[in-house]
Every structure is written in C-alpha cells, then in structure tokens.
C-alpha cells in the first residue's frame, strides 16, 4: 500500500501532436488543391497522380486517419495516463503504435495517388495496408487495455469508456469490411458482392464517422473541456447515460447512406429510424458539454482554447442534428449527390474535429513544455480566422447544394430536363466554389499560424518528457467486501 512514484509518458503525446499538425497541414493542403481544381479543372492536367479522382481519397484519408487519427492518439495517450494514474502499459507498444501509424499514412500517401484503391469509400487502402492498420489498431487497444488493467484509480472516468468503445467497434468494423481476397501485391477483391458489399461498406462507412470521428472526440470533450474550464462536467450522471445509450443504438444507423438504392426498403427505413433516434443521446452530450461552461463565459471571451471548444461542441450539435434530418427520405431526396453533403461533412470535420483538436493543442503544448503560450493574440486570431473559414466554407456549399438539387429537378412540360447538361449546374455554382476555396484557405492559414505559435512556444519552454506523479496502487476489492456491497468500492 505504499505510495508509488511513476512518470507519465509525455514524449509519445508530443510525437503524436507533431504528427497531428504535420498531417493536418498536408491533408488540408491537398483539400485546398482539390477546391481549386473545381475552379481551374486543368491545373494538374497530364499528371495522373495529381488527378482529382486520386487526390480526393488522399484528402479524406489524410484528414480522417492522419490528422484526426493522430489527434485521437495524442489526446488518448495524454488523458488516459492521467485518468488512470499510471504510465502507458508499454512504451514499446506506444512506439509501435506511433511509427506504425505514420508508416501506414505514408503508404497511403504513396499508393492512393498511384491509383491503388479498393474503391470503398474511407476504406480505399489496399490489403497489405489494411492488414497493417488492423495490427497497429490492435496494438493501440492492447496498450490501452493493459493500461486500464494496471491503473491506480478504481473509477473509470467516462472518457475512458468512450476510448474503449472506439477501439472495439473500429476494430470490428475495419476487419469485417476489409475482408478481401488478394490477387496481387496491391490488388484485391472484396469478399462481398453487389448490394451486400454496399450494405457492409456503409455499415462500416457510417460507423467510421460514428466511432472514429465522434466517440473518441466525445471522450476527449469530456476530458479536455472540464480541464480547460477548470470545472466539472455539467452532469456526470448524464454523461454516463449518454455513453451507454449511444453505444446501444449508434451501430444501427448505417443503412441511411443507401437511401434510394437497391437495398430493400425495410433496411433503408431501419437506418432512418435509428438515425433519428440518435438525436437524443447526441444532443444530450452536446448540452452537457455546453452547460459545463455555464458561469465561465467571461473566461471564454479571453481564452482561445475555450472558444475553440465551444465552437467544436456547437459544430457537433449542428452536425448531429443535420445528420438525422438528412437521413429522412424526403430531405435526402434534395441532398443526395449534392454539395449539401460536402457542407455537412465539413461542418463536422472542420468545427467538431478540427477545433477540438486545436483547443487541445493550445491546452497541452504549454502544459507539457512548462511554459505559457507564446501569443494569446495569435491563438485568438487563429480562432476568428478559422471560424470565418468554416462559415465561408459551409454556407456557400449549402447554397450550392440547394441550387444543384433545384436545377436537377427542373423539368420541361414534355418531361425532359430543363438543365440537361450537367455543366450548366456546375457553372451556376462557380461563385460558391470560389468562396469555398477562400474559406478553406483561411482555415489553413489559421492552422499555419497555430503551427508557428506552437513552435515558438516549444522553443521557449523546456520539454518534460517523463512527468513525475505519485499515487497509491489500486487494490483489488476483496471478496468479502464485494459480497457485502455496503460501501462503494472503487
């Protein structure tokens, strides 16, 4: 029962943070290039590996798995150690996790432009990389569960549950969706065929959004928002209910991506109903996050970290309200294949994931380098320019989406299309594409400012790679006490 001293592994968190910033800039630059290709379709003419079709999956993969993925690892590795009062289970596994993941990203960055793809959205990578992802992901889970088992804190904070759920579900989804028969070093065929493949793909695809972009970020929200505001989450009880209700129904919402497809109607409708039901737990979480800040709004005014988090939570709320709406068949009829989907997705990615990540970086870097942020002014500037970027990105895309939908459904009296040529709709929304490109540029500019701010901060600080802490070991509850159950025993 002696108090034990141990050291938190900050080095791994720092590495993941660097990777987050690096890949964030790279992934978004690719996105910016794509945005400009809408305006200048011929800028990469003749270079096959810079063609739109190859860069688009590179952009989505880089942002989702490289930028957000590394941010998740950074946040999890930082908070898990502190919530459980222990160092990570194994430094070797942490290292494998880090370098393995970066290797996968590099492999993706090479194979996707070269045209190697399975053509499954968000699962484009070919089988050897799929295998590597499975291995590294399991290493991450192994490391996390090992850490949980050797913890010194009996209670598992709700964030840890979100991390656990992320690991388990993403593992299952990735493995079952990526079942494929290799026919060459970089070529394989899915084991599922036709509409069955589509069903599995979107069961995966939706849940990739749910369990890779949402649950880990909810966990991070439940850790970093209270930390930044220095006050407990509004209702911890609600956060527990939030977790368990989300877990029990989130996994069923997938089929809404296949509305108006060859999927049987009942399966489509099932996806709709479960998507709509998801509003309740999602908004429960959002309200819980926002109400945590009640009473510290004056702090929000001056603190960039909190501002980023407020917009991130609001973005989460907007995206999780919009999602179920989009899954309704009549709304979907408008949005299907239009730029509305792009807007919806980017509100989620830029606001919820991006801004929470930025907030986390501004919070963690000064903490881990034992100094203060180099410039609060720059951080605030980043916030405003980033927000402006999101607005300039999302609003024109909504307008563009509606314009497209309306034009596509305009019929002549004889039943033929008024705008028979697809290019007519495209030329109509060129101004929106311009605004989108400007919005995106502002967002990236903000990010570059952050990188500068962080680099200077790190220079003036001193890195503490292994942070000392102490706690008493976690004692197993004796049988006698469990039987009695008369005292709380965590």
């Amino acid at each position: 029962m002696e108090i034990e001293q141990f050291r938190y592994d900050n080095k791994i968190v720092q590495k993941f943070l660097y990777a987050t910033m690096l890949w964030g800039v790279v992934g978004m630059l690719v996105g910016l290039l794509l945005a400009f290709m809408f305006l200048f379709p011929n800028i990469t003419d003749g270079i096959s590996w810079l063609s739109f079709g190859r860069l688009r999956p590179l952009h989505t993969n880089a942002v989702i798995f490289a930028f957000v993925g590394n941010a998740i690892f950074a946040g999890v590795y930082y908070s898990l150690q502190r919530l459980l009062k222990t160092r990570m289970f194994s430094d070797a596994l942490s290292s494998i996790n880090f370098w393995g993941w970066q290797l996968i990203i590099v492999a993706a960055a090479l194979t996707l432009p070269l045209g190697y793809t399975t053509s499954k959205e968000y699962a484009e990578l070919e089988w050897p990389i799929d295998l590597a992802i499975a291995v590294v992901w399991v290493v991450f889970g192994w490391n996390m569960i090992g850490t949980i088992l050797k913890r010194r804190q009996r209670h598992l904070y709700v964030a840890v549950w979100f991390y656990l759920a992320t690991f388990v579900t993403v593992a299952v989804l990735h493995i079952f969706n990526s079942l494929e028969l290799p026919v060459g070093a970089l070529k394989s065929y899915s084991v599922y065929a036709g509409v069955q493949d589509a069903l599995v793909q979107w069961w995966y695809g939706h849940n990739a959004v749910a369990f890779f972009l949402t649950t880990p970020f909810l966990g991070l929200m439940y850790y970093f928002v209270p930390k930044a505001a220095n006050r407990p989450v509004y209702s911890y009880r609600l956060s527990i209910v939030h977790f368990w209700s989300l877990i029990f129904i989130y996994i069923w919402a997938g089929p809404h991506h296949l509305l108006y497809s060859a999927l049987p109607d009942w399966a489509q409708n099932l996806g709709v109903v479960f998507s709509v039901m998801l509003i309740a737990p999602s908004w429960g979480g959002m309200i819980n996050g926002l109400l945590t800040l009640r009473g510290v709004w004056d702090k929000v005014r001056s603190d960039a970290t909190l501002k980023f988090m407020v917009v991130a939570i609001t973005g989460y709320g907007m995206a999780t309200f919009e999602g179920p709406m989009l899954s309704l068949k009549n709304v979907h009829a408008i949005a299907h294949f239009s730029d509305w989907i792009i807007a919806h997705e980017h509100v989620g990615a830029l606001a919820r994931n991006g801004f929470l990540t930025f907030g986390m970086i501004y919070l963690l870097v000064p903490k881990m380098f034992k100094t203060t942020l180099y410039s609060k002014g720059l951080a605030n500037f980043h916030f405003w320019i980033g927000t402006l970027g999101i607005v300039l990105y999302a609003l024109p895309m909504y307008v563009a989406g509606f314009t497209q939908a309306l034009m596509w459904k305009e019929f002549n009296p004889d039943g033929s299309l008024v705008y028979g040529n697809f290019l007519e709709t495209v030329s109509q929304i060129i101004p929106m594409y311009w605004m989108r490109a400007i919005g995106g540029s502002l967002y990236i500019l903000g990010m570059l400012i952050m990188v500068y701010n962080v680099v200077v901060t790190i220079r003036k600080g001193s890195s503490v790679e292994d942070e000392l802490a102490e706690a008493a070991p976690h004692t197993r509850v004796t049988k006698r006490r469990l039987d009695g159950e008369n005292f709380h025993n965590w």
Binding site: M1, E2, I3, R154, P232, W244, S245, F248, I249, W252, P264, D265, W266, A267, N269, L270, V273, F274, A472, T475, T478, R481, G484, E485, N486, F487, H488, W490
Partner: protein, 793 residues
C-alpha cells in the same frame, strides 16, 4: 527570544521551530499542510480563520474511545496485516477544495496511502497503515484541518444495508433488449412480404423471443412478486394488471411466432418493462448525505470513560454502561444516560433534546438527563439507568418506531388500480363472450388483446414521474423528502402541530434587552472588550449585539467556567456572568436566561435573552390555517403562551410542558379525527414525528443530524411550508389528470382490441405514445408549478 507561534496551528513553536516561507511552524506536519495549502491556492484558508489548524482542546479527548480495539474493529471496513480501511462520515465536506484536500491526506501523514471522497454522501474512505498511526490519530488529524469525522456506531452496524443495484441491472437488461428488439421488429412494420424479409423474419422473431426472456423473467420479476403479494392479501394493486399485461404479452407473442400468426408484441413488451423501470428509477431520488432513520444512537457518543474501582479510566461502549457505574464526562461530551452529578460544575446544553441552546446549570446531587451536552469542565456522574431505559431513550421502545408508514398508506395509483383491474377484466371477459357467440376463433385473440392494450403503463408512470419531479423541486428549495410517498400523504394533511423551541424559534439569534442602571460609555467599551475575549455562546451572542469600536487593552482577563468572566483594565474591574457569580440575588424565578453585569463590584443590571420567532412565522400560521387546523406542542413552561396565542388562530390547540412520550400520545389522540403533520426539530419530538402521518424535522444546518422523520426542512424554508403543502395537493391533481389522459389512449386501443383488429404495430405506437405523453405532461406541469414556487418567495 520571543515565543513564536505556529502559523498553521497557533501552538507555541518551542525550540523545534521550522522556518518556511517567512513563517514559523511548530513541526514539519504543520509546515507540510501549509505548503499544500499555499502551493494549491488554498491559503485563503488562513484568512478565514487565524490559527486555522488549531486543534480545539475540547476535541483532544473526544476520540479517546478509539483506543479501544473492539470499537475500532467495529468501525473499520477492513483490518488485516497492519492495514486498516475506514469509511468516515464528514459533515463538513462542501466544495471541490474539500475533495482535493481530503484526497491528499497522504501528503499530511506518510501512513495514509489512499483517501477517496464520496461527495454526495459526504464520506471519505481512508486506507492507512497502523504502524505509527491509528484511527484515533487519523480522526485528530482530520479534526485539525477542519474536517471533524462523525462517528456513530449504528452507521457501521454489521447487519449490512446492501447497496441495491438490482434496479440498475434490470433497467440495463430492459433497455438493452428494447433497443435490439426494436431493430428486429421494425422491418416487418415497414414492408411486409418483401422477398428477403420473408427469408429472415423467422430468425428475427426468434432472436426477439430470446431478448424478451431476460426481460420477462428477470427485469419484470418485481411486478409479478408484488402482484402475487397483493393477491395473497386480497388487494388488487396496480401491479396486478401490469403483471397480467406482461404475462399475456409474452404468451400471446410466443404463440404468434410459433404458429406463424404474426410478429408478436415483443417490442411493446420490452418497451413496457423498460418505461416502467425508468419510472421506478426516477422515483428513487435519494439524498445520500441525509439520513431519515436517525435515532438517539446517532447523537450519542460511541463510548464513554468509566472510572473503575481503583480510579483507573477505561473506555467502554455505551451499551455496556450499567446502573451504578461511575462515568467521566468531559467538556463538550454528551451524557449518554440519566445520572446523578457527583463532582464538577454541570452546565448542560439540551439543544439536542429540546432545541433550546442555552445551557442549564446543575448542582452536585441533581439529576442529569441523557442527551445533554456538558459545556464546562469535567464531570463525574453516577449512572441511574442503562442507556435504553433513560428518560429520553425509552421513547424508542414504542412500537411506532418499527412501523413503516409507507406500507400502511394506500397510494392513489393503487386505489385506482383496483377499480381499473376490475373494469378491464369485465371488458375482456364480456368482449370475448361476445366473440365466442359470433366468431369463436377470435375470442382468445380479443381477450388477450384487451389485456395487452389496457396494461396500465401510463397510469403506473404518472405517479413516479410527477412525484419524483416534485421531490427534486422540493429538494432544490431546501425541503428534503424521504420518498415520494410523503408527497401523497402531505396532500391529505388537515392538521399541523408545531414544536416551539428550535422549530418556530431560532437557535442562534436572540432578542436581548437590558434591565438595570445605565452603563457609561467606558463601561460599555470595557464590557464589549471583555466579551470579545470569551468563546462562551452567551458572550458571543451578546458581543455580536454590543460590538464596540473602541477596544480597550485588558490588563487581566479570567474566565471561570460555568460562572462568568472577570477583567481588569486601568484599575476598573468588570464582572460578567451568572447571578450568583456577580453577587446578585435573583429576584423571583425568571423564565428567561439572563447575564448579570457588575462594574467595580457594583451590580449594574442584566441582559435578558428571549426566544426570537423565526421570520415569517406569523405569516406561516396565517397561510396554513386556510388549509388546516393548527397547534403547538412544547416541552417548555408556558411563558410564551400569550405571545403565541396572538399569532395563532383562536381555536388552535396549545400544550406546554409536554414530555417526549406525551407528545407521541397527543398526536395519536389527534389522529383519531385528523391526518396530522408534525413539525419538530429535537430528539424529544422523535416520538411525535414517528407517530404523525407526516413528520417534518426542521434543521438550521442540514449537515447536522435530524431525528428520524419523513422529511427534513431547511429552517430558512420553513415559511414556505404552506406552498409545499399546496404543491403536494396540486401534484395529486396532476396525477389524476394524467390518468384521464392515459385513459383516452386506452379507449382508442380498446376499440382496436375489442373489435379484434389489434395489430402489433398499433400496440407499438400506442404504448410508447401514451407513456411519453404522460411523462411529458407530468414533467411540464410539475415544472410549471415548481417555477411558481420559486417566484413566490
């Protein structure tokens, strides 16, 4: 060299002083505490109170009984291999800094390894090594940082009150099954006859069946048990139709899928159980930091010091105290038994018993009653009666204390449930009779359909959600109820009886007026300065009234415990204290407490203290008499009768000089004709509180224990009592209205059922719809009324 005082505890530093941060400390322990406080922004602790870490002398012996190994083993949760674990109740926990400090106890003493706070319950669980440390040392350490642990044996009794988590499991099972069954049942509602669906539906249906098994046989078992219990005692409670509904739902659904008649009602079944359990869960709001079950044992010490034959002292548990034992009662200790004073100045504070905080002085040879707290010096007493036989404690021998008011009371839901069951059964039987004649094949279908659709889910939810919500609203206003049942009982009250002292009078504020020769300015200043130096409650309260800006330097100051104060300054002497001490012959028997003053041995006069009624008591009585009859039941003499009669209605019952037993019988007598509410505060009201239909304990500080009761009312909210009663009555109206609402849904459903057209999808829509609308209606209505409550006062 000047004597240095420790910055933390105020003790003399002696020759062991530790210098740190420009401050002196008497030991490394104090320095560490200071360091922890200051490095964590907690140094305001010292601004609040100089000598903050000072261990009051009175506390020093308070935990001596923890030297007794037997007592320690009863208190600890775990005691093996030199490690002890104890869960301590600390009423002072109130903010997150408290949590932080108490979870860092290991920094204060190396023997402590883990300490974990449970904030809602105000407890801290400490694990420590016994070598070089002990439970007593821990208690003293906690007391020294301002977190005096509260130890009472009955809290640690080994007939464990199990934390009942079964409802949580059941809710989990039902919720989990409900979610999955919905997934499997919906496809058949969306599209029937589709090729693939036809292939899967058999699997879907059997998986649903599998999910429903744990729901019916585990999650819903309480409803079956309660229904059977009700039927055995020939009561048709609300659980009878519910259990019947669940059973019929399950059997009918199973038959449906076995014979391929349809998809069954598994979603309605699991949803029904889930919603019902949710209601139960919502109703179960408990205040972990309050206890509604306290008896005298919570107030009394765990152990006392007995003086054995050879004048040696030993600590014994109070149930081992026998008649004839000689006991040592120290300053601030509570008398556990009735006894005779043998030695010492007795000045007893009976506030636990009567609510009256002013001490009573007793002479050697006089009888002292259990429950009083000694305020000055050490006493030696001889025990007259054992603990349970004492004047106050024998009250708990009355059988009323083992009665459960909840079971005897028939709730609105149950009384409606009885009629409801009869009507439903009549409809079911007559409808199936009709179909037996016209289309016999449909008879069974109709019979089961009626029982399914009439299952009173919404009715069963109305009360839990209304009352549960009201309970929370009350809680926010400082009115803490034991359970939701109290609201229903409160709504029926037509007579309210109040205790006087401590209930409608305040404990800390006094009305003081001066009688005698006028004091000069110099005398006043000197008096104020003298009082300032004393910590006696009367001095404190007098000082707070007389406050003077001109502080005189006192040359001499003496405090004679149990007598008074004496101070000298610039050749003037002032004496403050009891009549006999100051040299005054008390003129006649005064009912009120008085402090006598003499200046330079010349008697000047006296300050007389009078009870002050709580603000708004007159208003309280005025409002309450619109709804019920009133009465006062006091243990005091009738000195206040005339004042009380002025604010009470003419025909109010007023009784003085009531002993605890008398109070109980008084209430019992009234109950022959009335539903009686008792409002009291002290242990002497415990009998009346238990006997009454609703017993409310008024408390100035809800962290301090209140006697067993149905509700604890923050003294500040006492004037709101009429509003609470009004809201309780409104709650009953809300419940009745929601019964009507759910009846409408039932009628629609019954139409489908009786005509033999009930499809699973109709049940699947109606059932949640009626439940959700009832929950929404009750929540909105209660919140609306609740908002009025906040606006009114």
């Amino acid at each position: 060299m000047l004597d240095k005082r420790c910055y933390h505890c105020g003790d003399s530093c002696g020759n062991q002083s530790v210098h740190f941060d420009d401050k002196d400390f008497c030991c490394h322990g104090c320095k560490t505490v200071y360091e922890i406080f200051s490095t964590n922004g907690l140094s305001h602790f010292y601004e609040l109170e100089a000598k903050a870490g000072f261990t009051p002398n009175t506390v020093k012996h308070k935990y001596d009984f923890l030297d007794n190994a037997e007592i320690v083993s009863q208190l600890t949760e775990f005691d093996e291999e030199g490690i002890q674990v104890i869960n301590l109740n600390i009423p002072n926990i109130h903010c997150s800094s408290c949590i932080w400090l108490l979870e860092n106890l290991n920094k204060l003493h190396p023997a402590i390894s883990v300490s974990q706070v449970n904030f809602p319950a105000k407890t801290v669980r400490v694990t420590f090594r016994t070598s070089g440390f002990s439970l007593k040392a821990l208690a003293l350490l906690l007391a020294s940082i301002g977190y005096e642990p509260y130890l009472a044996l009955d809290d640690y009794s080994k007939d464990i009150k199990k934390t009942d988590r079964s409802l949580l499991y059941k809710l989990g099972v039902a919720g989990f099954a409900f979610g999955n069954v919905m997934l499997l049942s919906f496809p058949e509602y969306f599209e029937s006859g589709e090729f693939w669906l036809e292939q899967y539906k058999v699997v879907f249906r059997w998986v649903m069946f599998a999910f429903s098994l744990p729901v019916v046989f585990y999650a819903a078992q309480d409803y079956f048990k309660s229904a059977i219990r009700g039927l055995r005692s020939k009561i048709l409670n609300i659980d009878v139709p519910i259990a019947l509904g669940i059973l019929v739902l399950f059997l009918r659904s199973t038959v449906d899928i076995v014979l391929d008649l349809g998809s069954g009602f598994f979603d309605s079944l699991t949803g029904l159980v889930f919603f019902l359990l949710l209601g139960k869960f919502f109703q179960q709001k408990t205040y972990a930091f309050l206890s509604f079950e306290r008896d005298y044992k919570s107030y009394f010490p765990i152990a006392v010091t007995r003086i054995a034959e050879e004048n040696t002292e030993e600590n014994i548990q109070i149930h081992n105290v026998n008649r004839g034992d000689r006991l040592l009662i120290r300053n601030q200790e509570i008398l556990p038994v009735d006894c005779t004073l043998l030695k010492g100045d007795a000045k007893i504070d009976y506030s636990f018993v009567t609510g009256e905080s002013r001490p009573v002085v007793k002479q050697v040879g006089e009888k002292l009653f259990a429950g009083g707290k000694q305020l000055s010096g050490v006493l030696e007493v001889e025990v007259l009666k054992s603990v349970s036989q004492s004047y106050l404690t024998q009250l708990w021998g009355n059988s009323i204390f083992s009665k459960d008011k909840t079971t005897a009371f028939q709730t609105l839901t149950d009384s409606i449930g009885r009629r409801f069951t009869l009507i439903v059964l009549t409809i079911a039987i007559s409808a199936s009779m009709y179909w037996l004649v016209f289309d016999a094949a449909k008879a069974l279908n109709v019979f089961t359909a009626v029982l399914i659709i009439a299952c009173p889910c919404a009715i069963a939810l109305a009360a839990p959600f209304t009352l549960g919500n009201m309970l929370r609203i009350f809680g926010k206003c400082g009115f803490y109820l034991k359970n939701t049942n109290v609201i229903e009982r409160l709504a029926k009250i037509n007579m309210a009886i109040f205790d006087k002292t401590g209930t409608i009078t305040t404990m800390d504020e006094d009305v003081v007026h001066y009688e005698g020769l006028e004091l000069t300015k110099a005398e006043k200043n000197m008096l104020a300065t003298t009082l300032r130096a004393s910590s006696h409650p009367l001095s404190r309260s007098l000082y707070s009234i007389l406050k003077s800006n001109d502080i005189v330097t006192l040359d001499e100051f003496h405090e004679y415990e149990g007598k008074g104060l004496e101070a000298k300054s610039a050749k003037h002497t002032i004496k403050v204290g009891s009549a006999s001490y100051v040299g005054h012959e008390p003129l006649g028997q005064t009912l009120n407490t008085a402090v006598y003053i003499s200046s330079d041995e010349e008697i000047k006069g006296k300050f007389v203290f009078k009870n002050r009624y709580r603000e708004g008591v007159a208003h309280l009585f005025k409002e309450l008499q619109k709804r019920m009859e009133l009465g006062i039941l006091s243990g005091d003499t009738d000195g206040e009768r005339i004042r009380l009669q002025k604010i009470l209605p003419v025909h109010a019952k007023i009784a003085f000089g009531q002993k605890p037993q008398d109070k109980l019988f008084f209430i019992k007598e009234l109950q022959k004709t009335h539903e009686v509410l008792m409002v009291g505060d002290g242990l002497n009201d415990a009998g009346a509180l238990a006997q009454s239909d609703v017993g409310i304990a008024v408390s100035e500080n809800i962290n301090v224990f209140s006697p067993a009761c149905d509700a604890i009312l923050d003294a500040k909210a006492l004037v709101r009592l009429p509003l609470f009663v009004e809201l309780s009555q409104k709650s009953i109206k809300i419940i009745k209205l929601s019964f009507l609402l759910s009846l409408c849904y039932n009628l629609v459903g019954l139409y489908f059922a009786v005509t033999g057209q009930l499809q699973p999808v109709i049940a699947a829509i109606l059932m949640p719809l009626s439940s959700i609308s009832v929950v929404a209606f009750t929540t909105l209505a209660t919140n609306l009324f609740g908002r009025n409550l906040n606006n009114k006062v």
